[in-house]
């Protein structure tokens, strides 16, 4: 892991009307890092991720992702990242192969490269037998591994994983994290949100958001020392307070309280 910065956030503020969802965020993420982004529901994580993935403009502050400015070059950001969201992003009524081809096209990969990576992926995941199976027929664990592989099909510099392991069995969850490790070892940066506190321990560094601010940022070991805690969960419970209204408020400019 080198110290090249792939995400740089300075004084990021995002407001929706009078509600401040992101309150002066400052942090950096380095190449090949597995960066855990934690926080209670309503803390502002989703807003921050949407800004980082070029889907939302900041109110103020400087945000650079993969070398592109989040305000002026959002389209460029979108082309250079991968994204895997909570309940997967695969088309249920298409086959495994069709999904790979479709996404390859969306990422503007050329046909030859799509075919090459497709073959690699199917071999690596032992998916040959499922090649022509509809996504809706696959068990959850396989869908998840496939969704992840597709999110990195175009070898982006950064991948955003939004609660990628929700509801999956413990064996598959661990296999999935090994895929994450392996991907990081290839120099791809992973930005992960999760509610599983043990998964926070797999990250190189984690940040914890509460009420729109970052209240902690360090390695898991560093945080446990700082808060005299035996686990990241203990640290979390000590410092992350859930907000009663949550980010759903960001859909209107409602009053607080």
């Amino acid at each position: 892991m080198t110290n090249n910065t792939v995400i740089s956030v300075h004084n990021l503020v995002k407001k929706f009307g009078s509600f401040t969802a992101n309150d002066n965020l400052n942090f950096e993420v380095y190449e090949g890092e597995i960066f855990g982004f934690l926080g209670a529901n309503g803390a502002g994580k989703t807003t921050a991720i949407r800004i980082l993935s070029g889907l939302l403009e900041p109110t103020s502050g400087e945000v650079t992702v993969a070398g592109f400015d989040a305000r002026k070059q959002a389209e460029q950001i979108k082309k250079n990242i991968g994204y895997m969201c909570q309940k997967f992003s695969l088309y249920e009524d298409l086959t495994v192969k069709e999904n790979i081809t479709l996404y390859g096209g969306i990422y503007r990969m050329d046909k030859k490269l799509i075919k090459e990576r497709s073959e690699e992926l199917l071999e690596k995941l032992h998916f040959r037998e499922y090649e022509n199976r509809l996504i809706s027929d696959l068990p959850l664990g396989l869908k998840q591994k496939l969704a992840f592989s597709i999110a990195v099909l175009h070898e982006p510099r950064i991948v955003f994983l939004d609660e990628p392991t929700g509801g999956v069995d413990p064996i598959t969850r661990r296999q999935f994290w090994e895929m994450i490790y392996e991907t990081a070892s290839r120099g791809i940066t992973l930005f992960v949100t999760t509610h599983y506190m043990d998964e926070a321990e797999y990250c190189d560094r984690i940040s914890i958001m509460s009420d729109g601010k970052i209240v902690a940022l360090d390695t898991p070991a560093g945080l446990k020392r700082q808060y005299s805690a035996g686990s990241v969960e203990e640290v979390f419970v000590k410092i992350a307070r859930p907000s009663p209204l949550g980010e759903s408020l960001s859909r209107n400019s409602g009053r607080l309280g």
Partner: protein, 306 residues
């Protein structure tokens, strides 16, 4: 002690998928009984049968002495159900939702208020807020209040904590424990293994079958081998190296360490030599007590090879 739920040989198929196979178990009065298992294990299907919303293909389900198929009308009055996706009307306010549920069950909010007072007090300040504008944790408290408003004898909670942060999850379980005092029997499903420890008894479920039923302490103690916790610098390199060691039987990442079982059921010095050769530094290996997740992983493995 009477059985609140008695399930014998319940099976259910959807097309070619065997969602539940031969499920037999019972739940005692006032218990907090957990169903722990991943998505697709069959938890929701089972809960829908218990709450009279689905008819099993075979077997028999008795709830509070009544049959879920023949006596569904009587049963529905006495069950409180909180299904997986929130059961709230997003475009009604907090208090409108609560009033609605009370009315549907032929009671009033005031009638059984003391039952939900602790829970509802957290959201009462927002009672005019639309349910759709609440955070996950708050919606969960409201949904629980609505499920309890008619003072059911059985509370059925289908993954009430999925997608909710660790603080809210902890608070939620605190609230469930308090309900115990009111003699309400609670069955709850969850994919979070640590929540198993908060139940009186649990059933570990996978692919439509029950792998084990017991109190969580006994399940943990059912782990058949010695378990070792291995730490070192560089998690990924450590796991890879451990898997290449011939004496390793299983190696699973667990937070900041790797849980390993060895052949011969003991730690040999050769593992240190091996790790050193693979360039792994700062190796620490200690015997450790198996948790419920370790046991679940062990049962899952046996289940696959069986």
């Amino acid at each position: 002690m009477s059985k609140v739920i008695e399930s014998s040989g319940v099976s259910k198929k959807f097309g070619t998928i065997q969602a539940l196979k031969d499920i037999s178990f019972s739940v005692n009065e006032s218990e907090i009984f957990g169903f722990i298992g991943p998505d697709g294990a069959g938890k929701t299907t089972l809960f829908r049968i218990i709450t009279t919303l689905l008819i099993p293909d075979s077997g028999n389900m008795q709830v509070m002495g009544l049959d879920t198929v023949a006596d569904f009308k009587d049963l529905r009055r006495n069950i409180g159900y909180m299904p997986g996706r929130f059961s709230l009307y997003q475009d009604l306010s907090v208090e409108e939702n609560l009033n609605f549920y009370a009315t549907v069950f032929g009671t009033t909010v005031r009638e059984n208020y003391e039952l939900i007072a602790d829970i509802y007090s957290h959201i009462e300040p927002f009672k005019k807020r639309l349910a759709g504008k609440l955070s996950g944790g708050m919606k969960q408290k409201l949904a629980l209040s609505c499920a309890l408003i008619h003072k059911p004898k059985l509370l059925v909670l289908d993954e009430p904590t999925t997608g909710v942060d660790a603080v809210s999850r902890s608070e939620f379980w605190g609230m469930l424990r308090k309900l115990h005092k009111h003699n309400i029997t609670i069955i709850v499903s969850t994919p979070y293994m640590d929540e198993a420890m908060r139940c009186d008894r649990v059933a570990l479920v996978q692919s439509g079958r029950i792998l084990s039923i017991d109190n969580p302490q006994m399940i943990k103690q059912g782990f058949t081998r010695k378990l070792f916790s291995v730490k070192a610098s560089g998690k990924y390199a450590l796991i890879t190296a451990l898997r290449q060691y011939p004496g390793t039987v299983t190696a699973y990442p667990f937070g900041d360490s790797v849980h390993v079982t060895f052949s011969g059921n003991r730690l040999e010095n050769s593992v240190f030599d091996h790790l050193k050769k693979m360039g792994i530094e700062n190796v620490q290996i200690n015997e450790t007590e198996a948790g419920i997740e370790d046991r679940f992983l062990e049962l899952m493995e046996k289940d696959v090879t069986a």
